[in-house]
Assembly symmetry: C2
Homo-oligomer: 222 residues x 2
Amino acid sequence: MFAQAATAQTLNIPFGAGRHRAEPRRTPASFSPDQPHQVVFYDANEEIYAQGEQASALYQVEFGAVRLYRLLADGRRQISAFHIAGEVFGFEADGQHHFFAEAVGHAGIRVFRQPASETNWRQTLDAALAALVRAQEHLLVIGRQNAAERVAAFLLDMMERQNSDREVQLAMSRTDIGDYLGLTIETVSRTFSKFKSRGLVRLANTRTVEVIDVGALRAMCD
Amino acid sequence: MFAQAATAQTLNIPFGAGRHRAEPRRTPASFSPDQPHQVVFYDANEEIYAQGEQASALYQVEFGAVRLYRLLADGRRQISAFHIAGEVFGFEADGQHHFFAEAVGHAGIRVFRQPASETNWRQTLDAALAALVRAQEHLLVIGRQNAAERVAAFLLDMMERQNSDREVQLAMSRTDIGDYLGLTIETVSRTFSKFKSRGLVRLANTRTVEVIDVGALRAMCD
DNA sequence: CGCCTCATTGATTCTACTCAATTCGGGTGG
DNA sequence: CCACCCGAATTGAGTAGAATCAATGAGGCG
């Protein structure tokens, strides 16, 4: 589906360098490493790991964004989560990954080998529980909310994770948003247009959303 | 919505007693306690804990089934997971529960106070990761599969968790199944009827499903 | 036996999907 | 600098699938 980019470049840089924005809620302020680690740079749409691959590390987004997803045989895709700067992902069970992970755009990912240990289990568990709560909350959005409510919830979530109270920078395409929200690209686009015509948002460009009426969006999703 | 049952009765009984069936896959064979624990009995639809409640324990189903769910302001409900005998639930983040937990029918729940510790973090993490994988897989079902595929996936999941290769005992009502699969009760019922008329399943009664053609169900959900 | 809840079935509506046609925006090359 | 190109996004028309509204049927319990 996506062109495979060149091999990721790796580079050892000080922990925390290149961080783009403040830490999001519900994620540990920093993921304590108890072993050597490095930052790997990925091009847009480049694979970080594949479903079924043997798991060997945890990952923390340094800059950019990552999508985790799963596919059906006929190509239908469900993105289970986006991860942005500061967030930890790459949890496995049974010793293998159950999902694909790809860079959304150019991204830097810090890699931690030897995931959970005696000294970092608390951080690992916290990050896993945060991911669990997120996933279960997302189930409510996808299972019981309509298109407008889903898009509103998505924008509010992005605002919060970017510590913004107006403008949201979308790292991902409409297709990605659709596959995250369980909608088609057309429905996502129509919903954005509807929000625009109602004066709830303004679109500087397709990737930049200025939220005018936060209250109205909040009211939509309880 | 549901009648509140009488206060749960508690009783100290030996660990493992009263277990109804074999352990499901992806769950530790037993959740090692490093402190005193007890089994609490709940009536059907009785609340185990509420959203927003301060979290203080982990729980393991001894017998019966539990539903975890979340509500929208207008009453729409999404069940994020069912848990049956042997499974651990009750994870929290930020020190509080983000969901409601209720007994589906009469159920016995083993309560572990003081959740994660130096000695049991591995089991806790494994159980949390199993729940995370389950939740993310369920996102694919709800986000990208149609009604028939959702019901087929549900039946196969239940078969596997009950270690059955024919008959599935459903602990929950059609309403519960609908709220789990993001469908209405009518759509769930129609889908069961369609499966029945196609010879894929037989319904001894509304809660007992005999799966005739496992392969056909498998083929539906890839 | 009758009541009450849950489940099934039917008729109709409506939301989001599908298919299709432009439009937009960013990048490239003349 | 501008014209062109290509993928992404938007918009439109028609359709399909699940929701809604409504009526009937089946168990379980007092």
